[in-house]
Structure formats: C-alpha cells, structure tokens
Amino acid sequence: MKTTEIVIFTILFLVVSGLGFVAARWRRPDDLATLNEWGLGGRSFGSWITWFLIGGDLYTAYTFVAVPALVFGAGAMGFYAVPYTVVVYPMVMLVLVRLWSVSHAHNLVTPADFVRVRFGSPTLALLVAITGIVATMPYIALQLVGIEAVLKTMGLTGDLPLIIAFAILAAYTYQSGLRAPALIAFVKDSLIYLVILVAIIYIPAKLGGWGSIFDAAKAKFDAAGSGSILLNANNQFQYITLAFGSALALFLYPHSVTGILASRNRNVIKRNMSALPAYSLLLGLIALLGYMAIAAGIKPIGKDNNTIVPQLFDNVFPDWFAGVAFAAVGIGALVPAAIMSIAAANLFARNIYKEYVNRNATAAQEAKVSKIVSLLVKIGAVLCILLIDPQFSIDLQLIGGVIILQTLPSVGLGLYTRWFHRGGLIAGWAAGMAAGMLLLYNISNPATNHAHFGGSAFPLAQLGFDTKITVYAGFLALIVNLVVAVLGTFVARALKSPDGPDATRPEDYFVDEGDPRAHELETTARAS
C-alpha cells in the first residue's frame, strides 16, 4: 500500500465527484428532463467547454495507458495514434458542421436519428444504433482497465475500489447528464496536461536525455528480435491504413457525435478542429512514455503491459506527485465513460425505445429511459470487466473500431449525398460487418496467444498475394461495404424498389445558431 499516493488520489477523486453532482445546477436549464438538456447539455457549449469536453471524450484514460503500452511492446507501430489524430480534424471539419446544422434543424440527438430522417428507413437507423451501442460498450469497459492499472500500482487489489468509483460515476451522470463530464473535464485535462508536461521534462533529464532513451529502446527491440523504433517494409501500409481508418471511424462513434452536437454553433466546431490537436501533441508525448519506461527498466505488473505508465510514474516521481498523476488517469476514465454511456443511452431511447416500443413517448419519458439505460450500460461494463477476462473487452474494442466504420456510408456519406438507396446501404452494412468479422477472425497473434481476433493487421498473404504486407482489417471491410452499397443501389433501382423519403432540405445543412429550426419536418418524417 502506498499511503501518500492513495490519499491524494482519493481527495482529488472526491473533489471531482462533488463537481459531478453540482454540475446539475451549472448553466441551469428550466427543465433537465429532456434529451436536449440531459443528453446534450442544452446544445449550448462554447469553444472552451467544447474543447475540454471533446478532448476529454476522445483522448480517454485507456488511450493514455494503452498507447504507451503499445509503444513499449512494439515500438513505432504504436505511434500511429499521432498521424491518426492529425489527419482526423482537417478530414471531418466541414463534415461535422453539416451534421451539426442538420441535427440542429431537425432536433436530432444521435447519428441514427440522422439516418432516420435522411433515408426514411427505421431499419437502417436501427442497424446504425445497434452498431453504435455495440461499439461503445466495450469502450466503456476499457475505461475501467485504465483505473484498474492505476489501482494495481498503488497496491489496491480486489474489486471494491473499482465498483465504488463506477457507482459514484453512475450516480452523478444520472443526475446531471452531459453537464457532469463537461465540468469534470476541466479538472481532468488540467491535471493531465500538468502531469505530462512535468513528465517529459523531468523524466528525460533523469534518464540522460532523449537520445539515450531512444537508444535504449532500439537496443531492447534489437535484442528481442521483435518491434522496432522505425517502421519496416511490411507494416508501413498497416500503419497508414490503421491511422486513416481510425480517423474515419472516430467521429462515427456516438460519443464523439454527442460532444459535437452539444456545441453552441458552427463556429465553435470549426474552431475546435484547430484547437483539439493540442491533445494530439499530448498523446504523442504520452506515447513516448513507453520508451521512457524501457530506458528506466520498468517491468509491467504480471504480463499486463497496461501497467507500465503507472509503474513508471511510481518509480520516478515523488509519492505525492505520483498520486496526482494517478488521479489524472483515474479521473481521465470518468469523463469518457460518462459521455459514452450517455451516448449509448440516447441511441437506445431515441432509436429503439421511441421508434419500436413507445412511438408517442414524451420528451420526459425519453429522458427517463435514457437515464436508466445509462445506469444499466455502466453496470454492464463493470460486470464485463469483473466477471470476464479484461482481454475480452480489449478484443471487443478492436472489433468495435471495425464495425463502427461500417456506418460511414449511411452517416458520413449520407451527409453529402442522397444517391445511395436504403436497400443498398443495408446490404453494404451487412457485407462490411461480415467481411470485418471474417478478416478479424483470421488474424492470429502468437505473442498474446490468440489464434483468432489477435489484432487488426490483416496479412495480405491470406488473400493469396505473395507478400508480407499487412493492412488494417477495418479498411478492407469498408471497401467491401462501399462496393456492395453501390451495387445494391443499382440493383434496387433496377428492381424499382421504393426508396425512403428524405425529410431534409439542402439548406438544412447550413443552418446556424439563431436560425429557425424545422421541427415540423421531423414530425412529418416520423409519420411517413
């Protein structure tokens, strides 16, 4: 047991939990019992809050623990997180403002809501909603892995601390909705920036400079015969397809969309696309902690590489600062876990409950369902981690990235074109999902003792090519999806299959704050 660290961790954790409950009163709305307020913070967040909220949402505790762990184990490949988070913002900048506008005009809360009004297909919307929920669930569970890594290092074993942490989180998310993570994100991100800034100055100075850190890493990989501080001819294609595919997937995740829709206007979103890369820099520096751990001779607890960052902090920092660093990671898990559970709950309330269970649900009923589902989602995540091997969640999250990518044609391309037929999109989705599963199933990883689902790098040799080149499985699956969606659209047109009505108008994609909304359009779409 490490008393100083535990005391500081606990104090900071309690302060933040207090903030979570107080958040219900922050920018207090007249009525918190609507999805607009509970689930989207009243769509009122300005540039700063949005920056902290989305930054805290996308760059999760798990990321902060897993990326350096990957760099520690494999080297350069783990650095894909940097190009991934560089290319994503210029790529989605003009797309997200369209999503914001059409959602503002039609009072949409989830990506599946958009698909519903755009393609007039409850089935396609249901598929998008289920995909979103399935992809998000393991992600929430993984946030627990982040907390667990810290607790382990502090010598706290057993399930109780984890259960308490998540129970508190569940309680204030239930009460305050999206306002809770928005307020907590300020503290979380300030702590993370502080810790990393100190780490990248203090640790290299202690270890004899950056040069010797990289040399130590190189020596370790050379001796081990696996991993490298540079890419080789075979994994370069995997590196860029993984970065590009992950970037395409990032803003398809329901929790990312929640953060975007909560912003006040289009300017806030555009501005954040140039401000959020500050977090990418942070992530890049955090990735290098993996090499610092090698140079400092850090050994993971058991076989769990995820513990190397906490172990490194514990080793090099004085106890009190290690406590601060652990709190940063622990609290870092709470923000995304809260937003993800809200996003998954909104999908359920909007696209399953309201669409299929109670068509005449009032706004208050919708919010009630969403709040309860957000609790259930978190209980599910805790059970997932406690009862099943955490490796299962890690594998599921890998699959999650591949499957969320299959909503790109309907959600992403749908924002630009109505050319696709709903039948084609459904066929494409099914084909992409099947292809993704098949590809992942055929990836083995002897290092982690996986015969199947061993990673995301698919060897092209399995398709009969005489090469050792690997490619990101999600990328291949998306190509299959797109080809089938195009062919399916031609077939549906040829068969004169009826297409769904499009309830959006071209000008809806440019609506801004203060412009009249078009709620009446949404009601027409639902009636049809």
Partner: protein, 73 residues
C-alpha cells in the same frame, strides 16, 4: 449527387482555401517522408519529431479555413 448550394449559391463553408485541408490529411500518411532515424532533433529520431511537427501543419490549415469561412455574428 446533392452538393447543396442552398438559397441561390449560399454555402457558408465554401472557400478555395478549403483545399488546404488536404495537406495535413495526405502528408502524414506518406511514410517515406518520416520513416528514418536521422536527422535527430534533441536526440529524438526524425520519425517522432517530424510526425509531431505535422500537428502544426494541421493546426495551421484548419485555422486558416476557420478564419476564411467563419460566420461573423
């Protein structure tokens, strides 16, 4: 294909500067540019410092596009 130019050509996001967004999308995805140890900067291999430097490229182009297309209240 609906590339809406609603209200008689009013697309508030339209700007020739939007093409700048392609730079930070394409350049970080060309490994030959950065897949090398030398030259090092403060002991950090090219692979790492150059990819971190691409962040600046991303910030610069998104900032320019934001300024060109923002709506003034």
């Amino acid at each position: 294909m609906t590339t809406p130019r609603a209200g008689g050509g009013r697309n508030p996001d339209r700007s020739p500067l939007n093409w700048l967004l392609l730079l930070p999308i394409v350049i970080p995805l060309i490994p030959p540019l950065f897949n090398s140890d030398e030259p090092r900067l403060f002991g950090i291999p090219l692979f790492y410092w150059l990819q971190l430097a691409f962040i600046v490229l991303g910030v610069a182009s998104t900032t320019i596009v934001y300024r060109a297309t923002r709506r003034n209240p």
